[in-house]
């Protein structure tokens, strides 16, 4: 018993150590950072955070990221729901091949799509927009959404659909008022993963944006000035990117635990 707890604790400490260090650095002035190693800030300062919150060049990055992530989650859910229903309930020409092909898109290296995306979105005039990144991320998020939702939907017996039709429900009304509430957990899980994979992605987001929709990731990777890297500022920017993720996990933690208990994540 003891040994296994020790292992788990050691691993969690391993996970938290670099995060603590990042937080530590973000609260120090650069003079202290470059002066020597301190485990806790000797001169605690929030100046780095203040800079980020007041400089539009910085905080716009966060806003842009949240915007396209939200857009992507919405689009992915909207298109995946009817498709997942079709895969779950119906058998149609080419359905297995289509499903498999969808999954292969998850295996596509983003690097492969850089150039074509660049040209494609330029030609339709969508360069440097949030919708561009949202659509680009659909490449891997929509197949994932369809896969997860189909799994949840298959857990709902077909008899419920049939009863609704017998009771006179039209398909849209049945879908919205009866079916969706039943797969609430599935929608939650899907939204979580769409958020996660879109939020963390850098390569496509950076390629498709220049000024207006530039995500925080791109801003962070470009902050090298003549005087070298502003470590404190970079650390603060990094800490702030942890917050949406941490918040999301915190809010869904009960559902994650329950989802594990039900054997489907």
């Amino acid at each position: 018993m003891r040994a296994r707890h020790l292992g788990l604790i050691a691993y969690i400490v391993f996970l938290l150590l670099p995060l603590y260090w990042l937080l530590n650095m973000s609260l120090k002035p650069n003079t202290e950072i470059l002066g020597g190693l301190t485990l806790l800030p000797r001169e605690l300062t929030f100046r780095n955070y203040v800079t980020i919150f007041t400089d539009p060049a910085w905080y716009s990055g966060y806003i842009n990221s949240i915007l396209y992530v939200g857009l992507n989650t919405l689009i992915s859910l909207l298109v995946a729901l009817p498709a997942a229903y079709a895969f779950s309930r119906y058998s149609f020409l080419g359905d297995k091949h289509l499903f498999f092909w969808l999954l292969t898109n998850r295996m596509a290296p983003p690097a492969v799509f850089l150039l074509p995306f660049f040209q494609l979105y330029s030609s339709v005039g969508l360069m440097d927009t949030h919708i561009a990144v949202a659509l680009a991320h659909c490449l891997f998020n929509v197949p994932l959404a369809v896969w997860i939702l189909e799994g949840f939907m298959s857990g709902i017996p077909k008899e419920i659909d049939e009863t609704a039709y017998l009771d006179g429900y039209s398909f849209p009304r049945f879908f919205l008022t009866i079916f969706l509430p039943l797969i609430k957990a599935g929608i939650g899980v899907t939204a979580f993963f769409c958020f996660m994979f879109s939020w963390v992605e850098l390569l496509m987001a950076r390629t498709l944006t220049t000024v207006n929709a530039k995500p925080i990731g791109a801003i962070m990777t470009r902050t090298v000035s003549a005087s070298g890297i502003d470590w404190g500022l970079l650390a603060a920017a990094g800490v702030l990117t942890l917050i949406p993720g941490a918040l999301v996990i915190w809010f869904v933690r009960k559902h994650i635990a329950k989802g594990f208990a039900l054997g489907r994540v």
């Binding site: 009817p82 596509a108 150039l115 659909c138 077909k158 963390v200 990777t221 470590w231």
Partner: protein, 287 residues
């Protein structure tokens, strides 16, 4: 469930088809287009057949990048899968600590990839990072910008830090689904701890392990931002994996033709390996 045959279901699938067509098919067609043409200038294109493919396949730097990539993915799988299983086995299954554990474990998974790189870039430096400082205090000569071995180790540790939780969480989901009766029967049968793992837990985790192996292989094969931020592919080429090489080719040097040919080969390699892994693992249980 028994599915009804209904061709009208295609209408439900249409939105997905449109979106993915826009995101995948059209760009892919562009890539195919470029891969068989030489674009001398925006107006002049010459069909060159398989010339780019042959050039790319003979490129020694590509071979190197491929070997590095295979080594990297191999190490990643070799470390993260067993480690993830071990962590899943040591996680609590009941009580208040379950939520806390899940949240803490999930944290690294939601960090933007470039920030992961930045975190370890800082952490590994001897002057401003805790990790680097501790190592040099212990007398170990460690510098990830100068030594290829140190760079490799840092990139590996970074990836283990970043993604092992995914394996652990997936395996945990598989473990938690095992009914108590199996453990009870094993107790009555007098099974040792190792026997319980080998005959009950591991077989029942097979499904989630397949997903974990596939995901980790695919994602490690496509990795870009984290090593790019950490080492920039260096020192020299030491940590330049396939995605960085491709990106440099396509965006940096603008060799569209070879880049496109390489892209297709890259995609095909992943598909092939994924298929092989999938078939191997799902058949392993059938002997």
């Amino acid at each position: 469930m028994d599915k009804i045959i209904n061709q009208k279901a295609w209408f439900l699938v249409l939105p997905v088809l449109l979106v993915v067509a826009f995101s995948a098919i059209i760009p892919l067609m562009t890539v195919v287009n470029y891969s068989v043409q030489d674009i001398l200038d925006p107006q002049t294109r010459v069909f060159v057949g398989t010339e780019w493919f042959q050039q790319v396949l003979r490129d020694p730097r590509l071979h190197d990048a491929l070997l590095r990539q295979l080594l990297f993915s191999g190490c990643v799988l070799g470390i993260e899968i067993p480690l993830g299983i071990a962590i899943a086995l040591s996680m609590p299954t009941r009580g208040a600590w379950v939520s806390a554990c899940l949240v803490l474990l999930a944290l690294p998974l939601l960090i933007p990839f470039n920030v992961v790189g930045t975190i370890w870039q800082i952490f590994g430096r001897a002057d401003i990072g805790l990790g680097g400082a501790v190592l040099s205090w212990l007398g170990i000569d460690y510098n990830y910008t100068a030594s290829p071995l140190d760079a490799w180790l840092t990139v590996l540790v970074m990836d283990v830090w970043h993604w092992t939780s995914l394996v652990a969480l997936l395996c945990y989901a598989g473990l938690v689904a095992i009914p108590d009766a199996y453990y009870q029967a094993a107790r009555i049968d007098g099974a040792s701890r190792w026997a319980v793992f080998r005959y009950i837990q591991l077989p029942k985790m097979k499904g989630v392990l397949v997903i974990a192996v596939l995901l980790r292989f695919m994602d490690s094969f496509m990795i870009y931002a984290e090593p790019f931020v950490l080492t920039g592919g260096g020192p020299g080429n030491a940590t330049t994996f396939l995605s960085q090489y491709l990106t440099a080719m396509a965006v940096g040097q603008f060799d569209l033709g070879p880049a496109a040919a390489f892209s297709l080969i890259y995609f095909l390699i992943i598909l092939l390996f994924s298929w092989v892994f999938y078939t191997a693992i799902t058949n392993m249980g059938k002997e």
